[in-house]
Symmetry: C2
Subunit: 418 residues, 2 copies
Amino acid sequence: MPDAQRGLAEQLDAADPLAHLRERFVDLPDEVIYLDGNSLGRPPAATLDRLDLEVRSVWARELVGAWEHWLDLPTDVGDLLGTTLLGARPGETVVADTTSINLYKLAWAAVAARPGRGTVVTSADNFPTDHYVLQGICAHQGLQLVTVPAAAEGGPDLGALERAIGPDVALVSLSLVDYRLGALTDMRTVNAQAHASGALVLWDLSHAAGAVPLALAADGADLAVGCTYKYLNAGPGAPAFLWVRGDLHATLTQPIWGWFGQRDQFAMATEYEPEPGIRRFMVSSPPVVLLRAVEAGVELLGEAGMERLRAKSLALTGMLIDLADAWLRELGFEVVTPRPEARRGGHVALRHADARRIGRALIEKAAVIPDFRGPDILRLAPVPIATRFVDVYDALARLRDLVRNGEHLDVEVTGRVT
Amino acid sequence: MPDAQRGLAEQLDAADPLAHLRERFVDLPDEVIYLDGNSLGRPPAATLDRLDLEVRSVWARELVGAWEHWLDLPTDVGDLLGTTLLGARPGETVVADTTSINLYKLAWAAVAARPGRGTVVTSADNFPTDHYVLQGICAHQGLQLVTVPAAAEGGPDLGALERAIGPDVALVSLSLVDYRLGALTDMRTVNAQAHASGALVLWDLSHAAGAVPLALAADGADLAVGCTYKYLNAGPGAPAFLWVRGDLHATLTQPIWGWFGQRDQFAMATEYEPEPGIRRFMVSSPPVVLLRAVEAGVELLGEAGMERLRAKSLALTGMLIDLADAWLRELGFEVVTPRPEARRGGHVALRHADARRIGRALIEKAAVIPDFRGPDILRLAPVPIATRFVDVYDALARLRDLVRNGEHLDVEVTGRVT
C-alpha cells in the first residue's frame, strides 16, 4: 500500500484548495523539503515587499511623523492576529516584546491579582523558557512552583493537574501544544478546572497559534502569549503576541511600567497611570518593521483560513504517521505524537535512539530539514500552508532509505541548535 | 554678521570630512531639512540592502540552520556597538529587547545586589519611561524613590544629587543627556559620588549614544542601557542595548529568566542556571532582521568616528545657538540648552510660548522637521552624520521668517506625537 501512496499524494495535492499558497513564499531549491516550520517558518514573498516599503516609503519619507500611525500598529496587528487566529474579540490582543517577556508580564500580573495564594502550577513538559520564567517569579515572591508530570502521550497529565489545582493556586501556566511531542491539550477542560478553584490560566500558544483553530474567548481562557516566528512565518525573533480577556484588563497590572503602557503617553507625565485597555500590557516602542512581517504572515494564514489549514494539517500529519508506521518501525522509530486527531498539534515526533545523527544526516544528505529535540526526538512539521502531500511522502521515503542504508552513521553532530 | 553666515556655512560644508556620509542615507526631497534625528534617525541605504539580504539569502535559504550564527548576533553586534560608541570592553554589551525592559532588568538586578538598602535615586527631568520603570520596581519592593530636582540648565542638580546619595541608596538611575534640554551630565562625577556610598549607577544613554563620545569602562560606570533608533539610525523600535561592566556580571541576576540567558541553552534543562557572562541579561530570541539594522547603523557611525562626529556636532549646535541668539530672541525664543560645550548633548532646545504650533507650522509650511516637547520646547537636532551647515542656516532662517510673518498662527495642532 505505501508504495502506491505517492500517486495518492499527487492526487491529494491536485485537489488541495491551499496548494497555490505554497508559491507565496520565497522559493527554495526544488529538492529541499522543509519540515521545521514549527521552529522557524519560511518568509512569505509579501514580507520582503512590505519591509522594503516600510523602510523606503514610510520610515525614510514620513520619518518621525509616521509615529502618528505606527502608534496603533501593535493593537491593529494584534487585532488582526487575534481575530484571525485566536478567537479573540477586538481590543484583547497586542503584538509586542517576546514570548518570554510576555509570559513574565502576565504571570506576574496574575499572581498579583490573587493575593494570599502561594502556588503556581505548570507541567513537566512545558517549554524550558516557561519553566525559567515561572521559577524566577516564584523565587522572587516566595511562591511554590508545582510541576505536574506529563502524560505519556505528551502535555500535562490531566488527572494530576486536577489534583494539583487547589484553593492555594493563583495561576496555572501551560503550553497548549507541547513543543516536543506535539500533543494538544483540551483548553476548555483545563480552564474549567482552574476556574473552579479561582485560579487564572496562562496559555503559551507558541506551537498552537496558526497550527490549530483557537477560540480563546469562547473557551473561557484568561491569558495567553505566543510567538510569531513559527506557524505565523514572521521571521526570526519577530515580536510575540499577548492576549488578555477583556473583562480582566482592569484587574491586572503588569510589572514593567513603560511609556507605551501609559495613559495619554505623550503628555509625558512623570507618574505612571496605565491605559485602561490592552495597551497597559505594552512597555516600549514597537519594532515597526517586524510588525509588518507579522501582519503579512497573519494575512496569508487568514487567506487560507484556519479551518482549511487544520484539515490539511491533519491529513498531512495523518499520512506522515501512516508512512512512519509502515516504513520506519522496523528501523527503530516510534511515533510518539498522539494519534487521535483531537490530541494532535501541527507536528509529528518520532523517537529513535540515534535521532540526532539521523536528523543531521537528513539535512546534509537528503535535503530534508527536520529538527532534533534531545535526547531522542526527531520533529517533523508538514506546515499546511507551504507543504505538499508529495513532500511528506518523499521526505519519509528519503528518511527510510537513509537509515536503511546506514547513511547517518558517519555523520558528525557538532551544532548547537539542530 | 548672520547674513554673511550662509557663505560661511557653505565653506564649512566644503571642508567637512564627514560631508560625503550624508549621501549614505535613503534620500529625502531636496527642500526637506530633518532636525529630529534625536527622536528617530533616518535609514541608511545600507540598511535596506542588509535587511533584504538577511531575509532573501539567510532566512529564506538557511532557514532554521541560520540560528547557528544568529545565536551570536546579539553579542557580536553588542560588541561592535560597545567598542565603537560606548568605550566598552568586549563581552560587556548585548543588543536585546527595549530600553525600558533593559532598564527594568538592570535596575531590578542592581537593587537585588544591594540588599538592606531601601532607596533609589533619579532626577526630576529623567525621561518618563525611566520614572515609570523605577516607580514600578520601588512600589513592588517597598523601596523609596527619591527624585532630585533638575538643574536650571537641565540634568540633575549635582548638589542635590550628592546630598541624596546616602548609605541607604542602592541605585542611582539617570539619563546622561536629558531628553528635553539636551544637557550632558558629568558621568565621572556622578559615578564617583554613588560609589563613595556603595550605590550602583544605571545610565540611560538613549540621547547620548552616537551623540557624544563615551568611555563607560574608563569612567567607572556600572550599568547602562540605550536605544538604537535615535543617533544610531536603526529604525523605529529597533532593539536596544545594555551594558554591564564585566566584573559585575557574576554579582547580578536579572528578574526575567528566559532561555536565551540560560547556560547551555539547547540542552533544554528545566532548571534555570544563567550564563556566566553578558548573555545572562538576555531573555529571548533576538529580532535578527533588526539586529542587522543596528549593525549597519553602528558601522556608519564607526566609519565617521565618534571624535569627528562630536566635533562637527558641536560646530553645528554652536552655529544653531548663535543664529537663534541673533535672529530669534526678538521673536520670543530662548535657547535653553547649556552653552558650555562640555554640558551640551546633540540637540538644542528653544523655549517659546507657542512652540507646539510653531513646530507644526515648520513641518507643514517650511519643510523643516523639528519636534515638540511640552509645554514649550522646540527640539532641533542637527545630527552630524546627515546634516549640513547650510541646513542649520536655512532651517533657522525659515523659522525666523515663519514666525516673523505669523505663518504659524492659523496652524491646527491635533497630532499625538509632534
